[in-house]
């Protein structure tokens, strides 16, 4: 499976004219354009048929899961580190110049269906039911999506909007296993971790601190929180 998926990734080096075409179709609400583009490409390259239906985020997970088993050197590799996928760079580049609804389209395009649905809900709630609340910050949302795309192995978190309009992503597995990150527009983050520690009287170790969107994953990893944040 690994070889097939690898070919699929290499074959995603399509030119940006095509990519831009289906992205614009996606942004304008024609959500099937991306799948059609993939299907058309698959017809040209039969070796990709097996994985053409796999959405990018899922595909990233498959690659990460496959690498440790398939490496001939037998080296233990970090399954959580972001991989240099062409689609990731492409999507991240687009994040620089788009608006909230387009960010949601990007999230859907990248395979984060639940996240995109929730963000759509939040926009709707804020417009209709919470007009006096701080609106969702576009910059914070971009920071969040950038984090999610770079760390595709994570399951999609629950999302709330803070009083500052920032996105707060919550990974909650049990009462003792919680990790949340509040993404600030500047790229700073605030995070809180609950991790099990049986030596404590209540069995929970709590850590809260400030970091950056690019470093917070390492903080989570060092605290052992990624054990339940990963799919």
């Amino acid at each position: 499976m690994y070889n097939t998926v690898k070919k699929e990734i290499e074959a995603t080096n399509y030119d940006h004219i095509h990519a831009d075409y289906w992205l614009r179709r996606e942004c304008s609400g024609k959500v099937s354009a991306f799948e059609r583009f993939r299907a058309e490409r698959s017809e040209d390259e039969p070796s990709q048929i097996l994985t053409s239906g796999i959405r990018p985020a899922t595909k990233g997970v498959i690659i990460k899961l496959c690498i440790p088993q398939e490496t001939s050197e037998g080296k233990e590799q970090d399954t959580l580190a972001p991989k240099p996928l062409i689609e990731v760079d492409f999507l991240l580049g687009f994040l620089e110049k788009i608006e909230i609804k387009e960010v949601i389209a990007i999230a859907r395009l990248a395979g984060f269906e639940n996240t995109a649905n929730r963000l759509g809900e939040i926009l709707s709630f804020q417009e209709e039911l919470e007009p006096d609340e701080q609106p969702l910050s576009l910059s914070s949302l971009k920071q969040f999506l950038r984090f999610l795309i770079k760390h595709r192995g994570l399951w999609e978190p629950s999302i709330v909007v803070t009083d500052r309009g920032n996105v707060k992503a919550i990974w909650e597995y049990s009462e003792k296993q919680i990790f949340w990150i509040e993404f600030y527009p500047s790229g700073d983050v605030r995070y809180l971790a609950f991790v099990p520690n049986e030596r404590r009287s209540d069995g929970i170790e709590r850590t809260a601190s400030w970091s950056t969107a690019s470093d917070v994953f390492d903080r989570a990893k060092s605290l052992g929180a990624t054990a339940w944040m990963v799919l």
């Binding site: 939040i122 804020q126 039911l129 919470e130 969702l136 999302i159 919550i170 709590r206």
Partner: protein
């Protein structure tokens, strides 16, 4: 009016909008404790919120919890607040008073409402 502390066995409730509620691992809807801290900028552009606005359930005597919340629901609507079924009321219970949440103690101010005339420092 001199603020009076509420008895420990009494409860307060706060309406939380749908964008602040998330589904928890056990299927329940949850909000984080920051909903009980003064907001950093509220109303937007007006600077830090002066106090946390909450409602006192036991102000309505002799009725069930559901009916108390219905009364508060009606009071919120009279204040011009849009209350949605997708949002919800958070009722503060003992767990909020645990010592590892000291920010809650420091964060509480007073709540003043004309139709539910209670001012109190919480905790």
């Amino acid at each position: 009016v001199t603020p009076q502390p509420l008895p420990d066995e009494h409860h307060i409730a706060r309406y939380v909008g749908a964008s602040k509620i998330y589904p928890s691992f056990d299927g329940k809807r949850r909000v984080d404790s920051e909903r009980f801290l003064p907001r950093a900028d509220y109303p937007p552009g007006a600077g830090p919120e002066e106090f946390v606005s909450v409602d006192w359930l036991e102000h309505f005597q002799g009725i069930s919890r559901r009916q108390q919340l219905d009364q508060i629901h009606a009071a919120l609507q009279r204040r011009g607040i849009t209350v949605s079924r997708k949002g919800g009321f958070v009722v503060v219970t003992e767990i909020m008073r645990q010592p590892w949440l000291p920010q809650l103690k420091n964060g509480f101010g007073t709540a003043v409402r004309e139709d539910i005339p209670k001012k109190f420092p919480f905790l």
